[in-house]
Symmetry: C2
Subunit: 268 residues, 2 copies
């Protein structure tokens, strides 16, 4: 079992990812696909008059500020357009897939945060009334049931709180939690960079391997922006028993195969 | 087993529908919920610069003109915002539900139309390259499997062609096909009118009952706009073995219970 997370940044080649998924499924590989949708969400949110807002936590992690209007636009793009587009791509290729959010079947449950702390112009501030949280429980039984009847799950945020509210969660960390719950060996996280860069944004400064006990150091010294969250996800996946996490590039042909072959940043 | 279809027109009270669903599930009623999203789709499509276009067939049925851009906006609203909102409403009420489009698990399969004939200013015209079709096969096994593990299915167009392409289908007729496939006794179709009106739009002219052999006549003499398609769906449902179809109002409290009690237009 492997879990493939493909981001939602500009430049990602979903057709190439789906081509690889077909090849893997044909060899008997069990897998779950998880995706993002940030770039398109930003475009749609702006067009609809609710431009995206991002906040940075005191420890340096940036995330989308999710009020109710932002959540509903997020759902439109992630669960509507991107999810159904990927499911359609797989159906076109003869793979029977099923697209679900974390709300569906309480697939991804967690606690809704009462408030978040953010750093704004160097000052700490508390923001309440955001619809965010973190995946704490994965409904692995449902995923197994679906795979048992031959369906390939295609999963996307949001998740759901124990009270049944939709909560935005980080997709990379949700992918890590899912990989752990399914006893996966590998988690492949694809985005629009070659992997972790020692000297961002210089793509020739790719760090080819990171040992698990070096992750925190890389987060603090090298990683920028979204990559910090991916490394945190990688750390959680390895702590949960995965063999390795590969951060790879989704802007090329055979992105999944390349990552499985060790191209990108291999973390173990 | 009953199937409830709730439309997507202005004024529909989804909270009232979900309250009723909870009460029905609590009494042990098996059900599948199917929904639309036309009003919100029109708003979002206009805001995104792709205003909706509608066409009328030579036999007088109106439908959304679905080019690829329209289809993707349709998916955003139907599969993203409306579907996840209903699933969230049910989760908030303690009902574990799962939201799916007809693409997911090839739930609703049909043939993509090569071209559609439309009437424009009294002249017939052929339009090609639309993404539309009709549900011909329902994956009843998947629906039973989901219900078996305690999940309430919440379904929405689009459907999928045999080639794996997303195709827009009429939600009322998809609901009819689903009700037939599940051997349902009743199909409840809720929208923002009291039922079929003898003298549209006079709501006091409600036709309380229609016999199945009168449907064609009502379509030709009384029914307007969207109601014609609902009557066609009702006809297909009854031909497929249902006991009755009720066209009811979703702008009031207890809309499902009222329809089940015979309020609206009962067709049998």
């Amino acid at each position: 079992m492997i879990v493939i997370k493909v981001g939602g940044s500009e430049g990602i080649d979903y057709d190439a990812v789906c081509d690889d998924v077909v090849d893997l499924v044909d060899t008997g590989q069990q897998l779950v696909l998880i995706h993002g949708g940030s770039h398109l969400t930003n475009q749609v949110a702006t067009a609809l008059g609710h431009p995206p807002q991002f906040v940075t936590s005191p420890s340096g992690y940036s995330s989308r500020l999710t009020d109710r209007a932002a959540l509903e636009i997020f759902e439109m793009v992630y669960c509507g357009q991107v999810n159904k587009n990927i499911v359609e791509r797989l159906q076109r290729r003869g793979i029977n897939s099923i697209g679900l959010s974390g709300i569906d079947g309480r697939l991804w449950q967690g606690t809704r945060k009462k408030a978040i702390r953010v750093l704004e112009n160097g000052r700490k501030r508390i923001i309440r009334d955001t619809h965010t949280g973190r995946v704490e429980q994965v409904n692995r039984t449902l995923l197994w049931d679906l795979m048992q009847v031959g369906l390939l799950p295609v999963l996307t945020p949001p998740a759901v709180s124990y009270d049944g509210e939709a909560i935005n969660v980080d997709g990379d960390r949700a992918a890590a939690a899912t990989a752990v719950a399914l006893d996966a060996t590998d988690l492949i996280i694809l985005s629009n960079t070659p992997g972790v860069l020692g000297n961002f944004p210089d793509e020739s400064s790719l760090i080819p391997t990171i040992e698990r006990d070096e992750i925190q150091q890389v987060i603090q010294t090298n990683a920028q922006g979204r990559m910090r969250m991916k490394l945190l996800g990688a750390q959680e996946a390895l702590a949960g028993g995965l063999r390795r996490v590969v951060l790879g590039d989704a802007r090329c042909s055979q992105p999944v195969r390349r990552a499985l072959a060790g191209e990108g940043t291999v973390i173990r």
